[in-house]
């Protein structure tokens, strides 16, 4: 079996792994050997085709539909050079002070996260899109929220040369989105960091010894390593595989024995896609898909965002089937869409565990509080759609497929809790958090406030699994800020480890 030796190995190349790689890269000048091991492929530019099923298969785990164990929610997360930063919309929010204070992690200050977040906001060309770049789908949401008196804000986005393909979630075909695959990883490689793609780390064995396997894929650039098993030795290991695979790797490697919180306190911002149909075509799939969010109802447990999805994703997120469903689907050019994100509390029984094959699987039960929030969010969204001029609205917990404009005063009787049954309606998540939460000690957390695993000085975590509770916003800038902290800790300690 081939063996490789490094000073620092980073597992994963998304927002956390990519940021950590770039921050640690200057150590290469001092002779440090650093590698990033990424499960997914690095696609060639011509492979970003924008074709929905093809790109979902190449970039996401299970094409973006990883089921929770209860099969009541699907999880979308990527495997690729750049991780999920390849497939998000580039929304780049600074975490507010409130959630960080509520996390209550000793030694973790909001001011520190803010300073680090600002660095990535500058580095990733984050800005507001000009007004003429906003399509009707976004503009109508903004105007309707204004009419209804709901607070609404524009998303800063990390784009450079956006041409408005609307295909952000399939990997931008114009290379405009400034994910780690465009910014941090190329910079790290230029400074001497090696990035090994198609490489899954199966287990961390004794101190700093990793077992990995490289898989040949029929797409993407070839991995720097031959297909097959590899043994990797490292003085420092930084785990950044995301909120499912980081806890799963640590559980497989036996760390659950002395860390009872490992895998637990998983949160996901459970999401619904809601649809309003306008009487005439609007611009929706042209232009950037996500320009505004409404946090007016955050204290009632949900956020609303503009969104525009592709035909297959839209179809599976509508409730029902048959003629009504098909009629709506054949009017994609008239659809206005809203994404609801429920702010779900971190509960110990919502967790990542290992299945019979040793792979991570999420156990997740919806709290009553989350179900209440989802129900109310559908009514609020319906009001927004009608205020925007929609002729009818589809709500997953509707008593019927369409709620017509003439029925807009009857939302309480037409959108009901009895129809909101997990497993009946399509709930998805792309904001996976927790499982290796930061905290004061090993009884209820996995790492300290610098991402070091309790009791294991050479092992760090640097991704969204560190979040002690949900972020209450789109989390990627905060993940980078966390990774920046972890990199600082590694920089100061790696020589003595």
């Amino acid at each position: 079996m081939p063996e490789h030796s490094y000073d620092i190995v980073i597992i994963g190349s998304g927002a956390g792994g990519g940021a950590a790689a770039k921050e640690l890269a200057p150590l290469c000048q001092d002779g440090a050997r650093i590698a990033v091991l990424e499960w997914g492929p690095k696609l060639a530019e011509h492979e970003y085709t924008g074709r929905e099923v093809e790109m979902a298969g190449k970039l996401y785990f299970d094409s973006g539909g990883v089921f929770t164990r209860e099969r009541t929610m699907t999880l979308a997360f990527a495997r690729a050079y750049g991780g999920s930063t390849v497939v998000y919309t580039g929304t780049s929010l600074m975490i507010p002070e409130g959630p960080v204070q509520r996390w209550g992690v000793p030694g973790l200050q909001w001011s520190d996260l803010r300073r680090r977040s600002m660095k990535y906001i500058r580095e990733n060309n984050v800005h507001l899109l000009e007004e003429e770049r906003l399509n009707d789908n976004n503009r109508l949401f903004f105007e309707a929220c204004g009419k209804l008196g709901y607070r609404v804000e524009q998303f800063p986005v990390n784009l450079k040369g956006c041409q408005g393909s609307g295909m952000c979630n399939l990997g931008c075909p114009n290379a405009a989105k400034q994910g780690t695959h465009r910014v941090q990883l190329p910079a790290a490689e230029a400074a001497g960091v090696e990035v090994i793609t198609n490489c899954k780390v199966q287990r961390i064995e004794e101190r700093g010894v990793l077992r990995a396997v490289v898989e040949a894929r029929p797409y993407g650039l070839p991995s720097a390593w031959e297909p097959g098993e590899h043994l990797v030795r490292a003085r420092v290991v930084v785990v950044a595989g995301g909120a499912v695979h980081s806890p799963a790797l640590l559980l497989r490697s036996g760390y659950g024995r002395h860390l009872p919180a490992l895998g637990r306190y998983f949160t996901a911002h459970p999401a619904l896609i809601l649809v309003g149909e306008h009487p005439r075509p609007i611009t929706n799939y042209h232009g950037h898909p996500k320009s505004f969010y409404c946090d007016h109802f955050a204290d009632r447990g949900f956020l609303l965002e503009t969104c525009m999805y592709f035909p297959f994703v839209t179809a599976k997120n509508l409730i029902g089937f048959g003629d009504d469903h098909a009629r709506l689907m054949h009017r994609m050019d008239r659809l206005q869409m809203i994404l609801v994100l429920a702010l779900d509390p971190a509960l110990p029984d919502n967790r990542v565990i290992l299945d019979g094959d040793g792979e991570g699987v999420v156990e997740y039960r919806f709290s009553e509080q989350v179900l209440d929030a989802l129900l109310e969010s559908m009514k609020v969204s319906a009001r927004i759609f009608f205020a925007a001029g929609a002729a009818r609205v589809h709500a997953p917990a509707g008593e019927k497929f369409f709620i017509e404009r003439a029925e807009q005063d009857r939302l309480d009787e037409l959108i009901t809790r009895r129809r909101l049954r997990p497993g009946r309606i399509s709930i998805a998540s792309a904001h996976l958090m927790g499982g290796c939460r930061m905290g004061a000690g090993p009884s209820d957390s996995v790492t300290d406030c610098w991402g070091q695993v309790h009791g294991v000085p050479w092992l760090f975590v640097a991704d969204s699994s560190l979040f002690p509770n949900c972020a209450e916003i789109n989390p990627y800038v905060t993940i980078m800020a966390f990774a920046d902290r972890v990199a600082e800790a590694v920089r100061s300690r790696w020589r003595e480890l």
Binding site: M167, G322, D357
Partner: protein, 134 residues
């Protein structure tokens, strides 16, 4: 190797026409793409998931015998719809999840065909900004 038998494919197509009625109008090439997309998606799933889908298709075929003394394919369209609606809304959890899975692969096979996008009123462009004020 195709993950479904011919009988299972024809059952899937029959259910597919109730789930996405316009799938009835697919020409030969469209039907080939429908099968190819689903076959590729199933082939990527673990063997256990493939077994569950085959099991669910058997159940979909045979369960209507209990109530209507006919297999799913032999039911009139209105009863096929009623049965599918029961699976969606009122069936026990596992069956409801099975129907969700069936619906998802049918949607993938149909709406995942980029060639059908114009029928959906969907014509994405790499340079969408140019179309915003056209």
């Amino acid at each position: 190797m195709t993950p479904l038998s011919e009988r299972q494919w024809s059952l899937l197509l029959a259910a597919g026409q109730r789930i996405v009625p316009p799938s009835h109008e697919l020409d030969g090439e469209g039907q080939r793409r429908f099968r190819a997309i689903i076959a590729a998606a199933l082939a990527e799933r673990p063997a256990g998931v493939q077994r569950q889908i085959r099991l669910f298709l058997s159940l979909l075929r045979l369960a209507p015998l209990l109530r209507w003394a006919a297999t799913f394919e032999r039911l009139p369209a209105s009863r096929q719809d009623s049965f599918l609606r029961w699976l969606q809304d009122d069936a026990p959890g596992r069956l409801r999840q099975g129907f969700w899975g069936l619906k998802t692969i049918v949607f993938m096979g149909y709406y995942g065909q980029a060639e059908l996008a114009p029928r959906l009123g969907y014509a994405p462009s790499r340079t969408g900004n140019e179309k915003l004020h056209a």
